[in-house]
Symmetry: C2
Subunit: 144 residues, 2 copies
DNA sequence: GGCGATAGTTAGCAGTGCTAAGTATATTGG
DNA sequence: CCAATATACTTAGCACTGCTAACTATCGCC
């Protein structure tokens, strides 16, 4: 373990915490919590899936995701269909309202970050995007 | 607002959420919540300060930070000294145990991220560090 | 001295994480 | 084929962390 990796890990952690705190207020205006919004995004962009698979994608335990999906249903943002191949399971789908909510949240978030990203040139933007993609890829493959 | 910025904002948001969920479990072993740990880190690395200034640094409201600091005190990780220049205010200091806890959390976090960052070459590491620094700098100057 | 601003607390709510324990269905081994 | 085990999900209950509203105490200024 190099001091280099230590420093990078610390900075990533800190930057992630502060970035999320910044956007949190704007997401709050949607009336949907951050975890619910993130799960809904997965359904919209990654496609419908079972509760278990959604929980795995979000790195959260089953009961947590169960409650989140119950909230999404209550809010009319997702619905569950029976899984024809397994009567224990459901397939969770986003509703049209759910899709609209994800789009709206995305717009708000972008508006909030616009002021931040504005001063960056293309090279800098590309670096940020590359870094984010890199982190996501590492998390994906390093799935314990 | 370019589609480019939209895409970058989305990826940053998603990467931040998933990165934090990954490290959360390891931080849980400390017996200190993530917000408390982050506040304590600020005290350790950024120096003692008042509740208000700590809340501002963490982008959190006063009552939230008040409760967090109360918890840190109860756990023996921080203590408050009266501010000699203002009898309404306190200066929050980390205790030796608080410093040790931050160090331990840092070690655990690094161990957790080590497996992720291991496959990266120096160029990639530098890119991640640059991106994190960039985000922090933007958040700092864009302080509303 | 008094008035508005600032530092902090308390109470109470919502959201999100967890484990433990229970139900229902699937799968597997004898 | 039936019993044991494993899996999908729910419910209950706890902890942490965000918020606003309402309060107290002090500060700074006229």
């Amino acid at each position: 373990m190099t001091p280099r990796a230590r420093a990078v890990a610390d900075r990533l952690h800190s930057a992630a915490i502060h970035l999320l705190r910044r956007v949190r207020r704007h997401d709050a205006a949607l009336g949907v919590g951050p975890a619910a919004l993130s799960a809904l995004s997965v359904l919209v962009f990654g496609g419908p899936r079972s509760l278990s698979r959604l929980a795995a994608a979000e790195q959260v335990r089953l009961p947590t995701m169960s409650r989140i999906v119950a909230g999404l249903e209550r809010a009319g943002l997702a619905r569950r269909e029976p899984d024809p191949t397994d009567r224990r399971a459901f397939v969770i789908h986003p509703t049209p309202r759910g899709r609209a909510t994800v789009r709206r949240g995305r717009r708000r978030r972008v508006a909030a970050l616009a002021a931040l990203l504005a001063p960056l040139d293309h090279r800098r933007l590309a670096e940020l995007e590359g870094a984010a993609a890199c982190v996501e890829a590492l998390l994906e493959e390093g799935r314990d």
